[in-house]
Symmetry: C2
Subunit: 379 residues, 2 copies
């Protein structure tokens, strides 16, 4: 197996860790933020753009690719790396989250889930075994167990669901045939400390190569999310990567790295870009704002992204107002640069022992917004 | 004046010419095809993309930029080159065509045209003097006289309109203040040989630095268009560039270069790209076609564009079907490469005396389509 996680440093004042994930398609310095490429493309960007941004890992979606263009087609191209021409590491999620958030008429039983496609209403069935088979056809470097994402605050339902998700995790592990993909188990348990602890313990006993933390950022509060991370931190194995799925915002990167997270993915930077919002150290800017009409400054004075090196706020606003799709691309480039560069700085600060200072300095300046309105869990 | 036209070669078997237009922002080898950047952006592309495509001239629209974001704003940025960050030559049309095709409730009098914006219905007025003032604020290298684009087949109206367009051309010339922009006069006259000849003679007498040919590709047949070009060919001055406005398709490049044209612009390659159609030496392909679903080939086997060097027809079709905007960008890159590369080959063939062979070979292979359905005159 060509996959391994190398833990380089642990922060003295927090649970922050810096490491390296080795994969068949290259190394991923951690902590890492993965741009989301739901349908085998990070929306508006080419692989060359992602390379310019120095992205080291991208996420794609099993549910979406299974429905369109189909896993067999992608397998026939030699897998997703070849199909989309992205030569670096890819992670596919298991489709669990999408089946429970996008598909309609779900019917869950012990064996799996029957659901209707959000595209055409056609009926499909996912089981732990079929989802592993699909992910083996897609050929990502990191693949995920099939899990249920239950409503986070119904204790009794979470107990029932968690037991099934655990049985599914074992079945996923047993179903794996390829040895060149790292399978991560997914910790569930809603907002309940005892369930999260039980899940982390059980999955640790299965000895996965990494651990996803699912079912967060779906309606619970930030402090509830942080509490769950604190519960599972001492339980999960020290020398395995920890991936907080579907998170996060700029402030989440700091708060969750401080609680031991190594991997993130989130549609936030790309999604808000397509709504004309851009990220800065002070918070978000809405490019539609009339005050930018004559503004000769870039989004961020010291930013080294292609957008900021070339274009004024006035030009970006003009493109947005004129409904030019180039606006969405230029905002996406900036927002991904912001997230990736922030994560690179976080990593350097962990390595040189200044993470806490950087975190305090960043969070003091950054004005956060309520992200619930963004619908950040669907791309 | 830093603008000049250098005639390098004239073809022996046709009226084809190869030359160089020198401008304050660099040289334009001719014949040249100019991608259209209506709203200060060639749709979906950055200036870096246009540079990769080796575009040497782009067109932008006075009417659109006057309405949004406004000529004063662009002037405050030092002109369009700075505003959109395109350092090479730009041509702005005069807005005449758009006023007569996009705006509503036009009221034409001797002095100018009052019209309602297609954006918000607000009332505006263009005169020859105001249009020159706007184009001086925008700061393109090549600017155009304000003309009327009448229906091409109403003789009496064309006579009346042509006289007024000629008086407007004189007024534009008199209104020009900047010495670093080349003002072209526009030959009109519909599909009437006597009017086209009269227009070419009159405008030649005004000694413009170049000549636009307007009011073609608006509903007349190809043979009517060719006949008009043949009428004016011997009248227009040999050592001035000739610009066929709003034309053309791949086959138009050959047929009109053969009739003495040095400059073209057309939304066709970019517009059809956004509908999922791509250009090949055999004709157009519709990327939505189900037969491309498993196709591992690029659009065109020997094409050196970024799209063809990297992506399969299957992947491009997937992006189109999945409504990913990256599809529009990748198709735009290919189509512009196709047009620009075809024009570069045309130029080389003129220089080495093989234009006629190349023209026959291209047209024998290329399956043309009726472009009327494309609505190719609006971007």
């Amino acid at each position: 197996m060509s996959f391994s996680f190398e833990l380089l440093t642990e922060d003295k004042n927090s649970h922050a860790r810096a490491g390296l994930i080795h994969t068949p398609h290259g190394d991923i310095p951690t902590p890492v933020f993965a741009p989301v490429g739901t349908q085998a493309t990070v929306k508006t960007l080419t692989p060359a753009d992602l390379d310019d941004l120095q992205a080291t890992l991208i996420l794609s979606n099993t549910y979406h690719l299974y429905l369109r263009p189909g896993a067999d087609l992608i397998a026939d191209f030699g897998g997703l790396h070849h199909f989309m021409q992205w030569p670096r590491p890819i992670l596919t999620d298991s489709g669990g989250f999408q089946v429970f958030s996008l598909a309609s008429l779900r019917d869950i039983d012990e064996d799996g889930v029957t659901f209707r496609s959000h595209l055409d209403g056609s009926t499909h069935r996912f089981t732990p075994e079929s989802v592993i088979a699909i992910q083996e056809k897609l050929g990502a470097d990191i693949i995920m167990t099939f899990d249920e994402c239950p409503p986070p605050d119904d204790y009794h339902y979470n107990v029932e669901s968690l037991e099934r998700t655990h049985r599914w995790a074992e079945r996923c592990q047993a179903a794996q045939r390829r040895s060149d993909q790292a399978l991560y188990g997914i910790v569930q348990g809603g907002i309940f400390a005892d369930l999260r602890a039980r899940s982390a313990e059980f999955l640790t006993s299965l000895n996965f190569l990494g651990y996803g933390i699912g079912g967060l950022s779906v309606g619970e509060t930030k402090s509830q999310m942080h509490a769950m991370l604190e519960v599972i931190h001492p339980i999960l194995p020290r020398y395995k990567p920890r991936y907080l799925m579907g998170v996060g915002s700029p402030e989440d990167l700091f708060e969750c790295v401080a609680r031991g997270i190594d991997q993130f993915d989130c549609v936030l930077p790309t999604r808000i870009a397509r709504n004309g919002a851009v990220l800065t150290p002070q918070g978000r800017l809405n490019l539609r704002n009339a005050r930018f009409a004559p503004d000769k400054n870039p989004i961020e004075a010291d930013c080294q992204c292609y957008t900021c090196r070339n274009f004024s706020l006035a030009y970006l606003r003009h493109l947005i107002i004129a409904k030019e799709t180039l606006a969405l691309r230029l905002a996406t480039v900036h927002n991904l640069h912001f997230m990736l560069e922030t994560m690179r700085r976080i990593r350097l600060s962990i390595l040189d022992g200044t993470f806490n200072d950087y975190k305090n300095q960043f969070l003091a300046l950054y004005q956060s917004v309520d992200e619930k309105e963004d619908g950040i869990n669907s791309d």
